[in-house]
């Protein structure tokens, strides 16, 4: 095991990783931008290094600064968290070159699975079901039109290099295709420097269900069940739960095994997530792989009683998985709500600013992951995630009731700050969500009828 781990991230995930490091007896080295000088992880860490100014491209995304910080702190391993450099093969490679352990899969695996085209090919090879569409990028408008006609409208045109909800376009009519094809290519070029796109069938009423997988470096892999992340605003998840409600038992196991098979075939090492779409007839289709710990990992931790960051670190240190698939059993139900400093009535506009008051929920079966403190501030330089409120209960109705109770306990004060708390409560109370039969269109239904605040 390592002596010192550098955490190349900020906010709640940096603190969350630091907590596990501390519990494992590992020295915690943090990095921070000048914006995060007084952050929770800086106070928590054994050592903290300022790596640059606020804008992430000059600090958290600036590879030389991160590598220097690792050198200065004597870190033997770097945990990238999520976002920032976590899925950059270059970064994993630089770590390797410097003799540092990157806590994540090998660079080549990140490369292969980060490219949607090669990822689809790899998963298809491993026998995972894909939505009808192309595996290879489609070269011109005519070819796209032909494929679209074959698989039937609506289709979705996606950038090979896309991710995080960016670089995709739904096409409903053949007439719209040429224009939208050009648009998405040009968008992809400007966003990712890569204008390759592919086409697949678009499922308007699908559920987003993902499988948490752990693979060690000795060829062993297990899954830790499903998470349903269908409640999304602008393709950003805001409510996640485990297990996924209403899935037939057979499907749960099929998806779990498929995910493990797919990642083992790809040479995966570490904690990873395989995202699927599940249609209204309970058929599942591979969507993409996330080569990192995910924001919503706590719900799996709560149902499975496993510290996923601990497993990441153990795997990165070359240790073997110490649980078998048979021993991994889910208990009860867990839900996570992402509290963002944003205004749902203004199109979810972030509302950064000083935090003068903060009261977090507590008590039975409530977990809060946050780096926010009263007296601190929500920075405009980063994403507006303020806290993750998670609950556990023996069943879904009790978990829902507990989440309502917990969210009602939350209070956030500060000039100009608003949160999506009430919006989350509205979503939790929606009959489709209560019934567990909602899909990714839930938030659109809510915002369509949501009264816009006058400004």
């Amino acid at each position: 095991m390592f002596n010192t781990v550098l955490i190349a991230n900020r906010g709640e995930i940096a603190l969350r990783v630091a907590r596990t490091c501390r519990e494992m007896g590992l020295r915690v080295a943090a990095v921070y931008s000048t914006e995060d000088r007084d952050s929770a992880v800086v106070r928590f860490a054994d050592q903290a290094v300022c790596i640059g100014p606020g804008p992430a491209r000059h600090s958290y995304l600036y590879l030389p600064a991160i590598m220097e910080a690792a050198r200065q702190t004597g870190a033997e391993a770097i945990h990238p968290g999520y976002g920032f450099l976590s899925e950059q093969a270059d970064f994993a490679e630089a770590c390797e070159a410097e003799g540092l352990t990157f806590v994540g899969p090998p660079p080549a695996v990140i490369d292969r699975l980060g490219d949607k085209s090669t990822a689809r090919a790899a998963m298809a090879d491993a026998g995972l079901p894909l939505l009808p569409g192309t595996i290879e990028p489609v070269g011109d408008a005519e070819a796209v039109a032909k494929v679209a006609a074959d698989i039937g409208y609506p289709v979705i045109v996606k950038a090979v290099a896309g991710g995080g909800g960016r670089g995709m376009q739904v096409v409903h009519e053949p007439d719209d295709l040429p224009r939208q094809y050009r648009e998405i290519r040009s968008t992809a070029q400007s966003l990712f420097g890569d204008d390759r796109v592919y086409v697949e069938r678009y499922l308007p009423a699908a559920r987003h269900v993902e499988v948490q997988v752990l693979c060690d470096s000795h060829g062993n892999g297990v899954h830790l069940g499903q998470r349903d992340c269908s409640v999304q605003r602008r393709r950003q998840k805001i409510i996640e739960e485990a297990p996924a409600p209403g899935l037939p038992r057979g499907l749960v196991e099929q998806m779990g095994h498929a995910a493990v098979r797919g990642l083992l075939a790809a040479g995966y090492v570490g904690a990873g997530t395989v995202e699927f779409l599940v249609d209204d007839q309970s058929r599942f289709y591979f969507m993409e792989v996330n080569c990192r710990i995910q924001v919503e990992h706590p719900v799996t931790e709560l149902t499975h009683g496993v510290d996923l960051v601990r497993e990441q670190l153990r795997i990165a240190a070359g240790e073997r998985l110490d649980v078998s698939q048979e021993e991994l059993a889910a208990r009860g139900w867990a839900i996570e709500c992402r509290i963002n400093a944003e205004d749902p009535a203004r199109g979810f506009l972030p509302t950064p600013g000083p935090l003068t008051g903060l009261h977090l929920p507590g008590g039975p079966f409530v977990r809060v992951d946050t780096a926010a403190v009263a007296g601190g501030r929500i920075s405009a330089a980063y994403d507006p995630l303020l806290a993750k409120v998670c609950v556990w209960a023996p069943d879904r109705p009790q978990a829902l009731a507990r989440m309502r109770r917990a969210l009602a306990e939350l209070s956030v004060e500060g000039p100009g700050i608003s949160t999506n708390r009430d919006f989350l409560l509205t979503a939790l109370d929606h009959p489709l969500f209560v019934a567990g039969t909602h899909d990714t269109s839930l938030v659109d239904r809510l915002t369509a009828s949501h009264p816009r605040e006058e400004s």
């Binding site: 000088r37 007084d38 800086v42 300022c50 590879l63 030389p64 600064a65 590598m67 200065q72």
Partner: protein, 161 residues
């Protein structure tokens, strides 16, 4: 502010008087008002608190001389003048190469934009430039030392330009 007095065996009334008088005299001598006061002698304890807003009587304005909370990682006391900060986390070098003459030494006159050092980060050599015309009045970091982003490397006195 806490003052602790060795416990005595005097009867309560006396002890109380003593502790109260002690508090009064301490406050009088102080000339300003603390945020909190606690005096304990054996079983007798006197504690007082004042609000932040309360004017500290005849004492001088506290805001003027109260130093701001010092950032943890900042150097204890920075001399007046213009600081030159590390442009990146890395290793600071005073000279272009080992053994060479340093870019600048204490007392040197420099011009804004003049190279005064190097920070090396992952083989990248990032020049450090003076932020103002003036005289180098202090070097804060040794050659070859690890520096963080924004760490003050040296101070330039622009008055001495």
């Amino acid at each position: 502010m806490t003052a602790t007095i060795e416990p005595g065996t005097a009867p309560l009334a006396e002890a109380l008087d003593e502790v109260r008088r002690s508090a009064q005299s301490l406050l009088a001598d102080l000339g300003h008002r603390p945020r909190a006061l606690r005096i304990r002698a054996g079983d007798v304890v006197v504690e007082m608190e004042w609000t932040e807003q309360q004017a500290p009587s005849a004492a001088p304005a506290p805001a003027a001389d109260a130093p701001p909370p010092a950032p943890v990682e900042q150097a204890p006391v920075a001399p007046p003048g213009v600081g030159v900060s590390a442009p990146i986390v890395g290793t600071f070098y005073r000279a272009p190469e080992p053994g060479a003459t340093p870019f600048v030494s204490e007392g040197d006159q420099v011009r804004r934009g003049q190279q005064v050092g190097i920070v090396e980060a992952m083989k990248l050599m990032i020049p450090v430039e003076a932020d103002a015309d003036g005289r180098v009045v202090a070097l804060h970091v040794a050659d070859g030392a690890a520096v963080e982003f924004g760490e003050r490397l040296m101070t330039i006195d622009p008055e001495a330009a």
